[in-house]
Symmetry: C2
Subunit: 154 residues, 2 copies
């Protein structure tokens, strides 16, 4: 805990739906080596892979090399009880919902990446880069769509 | 089920982490009225609201009116066992991971919206529009960041 950080006290255990891991993200990054954000991961020039559980390989039909996709994954080492955080890279304290920190009530990571390779039979994708640990559990792949995923005009 | 759709047979029950609902999304849309996508929701000119559980209101600190944010939410009426789907609006069948259908192994919805109002004490946000039912459970709010959330150049 750093100065200014606030923990949610007395929260009941989570009681919502149960997640299903559909595969793993294979990256070059072990503990202590992970780039701080996806931009820095891209600067390394090192790609990554998605390995689906074989049962889910048929769900890749229609994806294509070159296409951007959104990956959702579970940051299994993160805290789920922090309401306000004081990250090293900013001055002061911010609410968890104003940060991209892995520490959040539901530790779901979100990355927008480009498909660089695809093997539908094996259930694997190559992706340009990502900033998560090797072995991170995958929750979802969604096609990135400009008309849906760009913010509306101000 | 429509022609060409494939169900994952013999899946074990989900056994991953348990989600925590942190609030609800209040929208004008009941069953049978929901716009098909966020573009059509915007065309109606009708906004929506996020109501956090009071325990999570402190986590809004640092968000600002006008800022784009990503909402993650749980589509609680969706199927979780479809590998391939034949939506009415496309020809033929596609894998679930090539579609934005609510039916997916983890029924997590993703919307990029703009904050139109903010009450940090009450734990509420106004948002420009969204295409989900009134009462949809909220999982997360993340700041949308151009350097993170735009796809990389091809």
């Amino acid at each position: 805990m750093r100065p200014g950080e606030i923990v949610a006290e007395g929260l009941a255990p989570p009681a919502g739906p149960v997640l299903r891991f559909v595969g793993r993200i294979r990256t070059p990054w072990g503990p202590g080596e992970c780039p701080k954000n996806i931009g820095k991961a891209r600067e390394t020039g090192r790609g990554a892979r998605v390995e689906l559980d074989p049962a889910f390989a048929p769900a890749l039909l229609g994806l294509e090399i070159g296409q951007p996709v959104v990956l959702l994954y579970w940051l299994h080492e993160a805290r789920r009880d922090l309401l306000r955080q004081s990250p090293r890279h900013i001055d002061g304290t911010r609410g968890t919902f104003a940060l991209r920190s892995p520490n959040r009530p539901n530790s779901i990571g979100l990355a927008t990446v480009r498909i660089t390779a695809l093997d539908g039979a094996a259930g694997t994708l190559g992706i340009d880069a990502i900033d998560c640990f090797d072995g991170t559990p995958l929750l979802d792949i969604k096609p990135w769509l400009e008309r849906v995923d760009l913010p509306p005009a101000p």
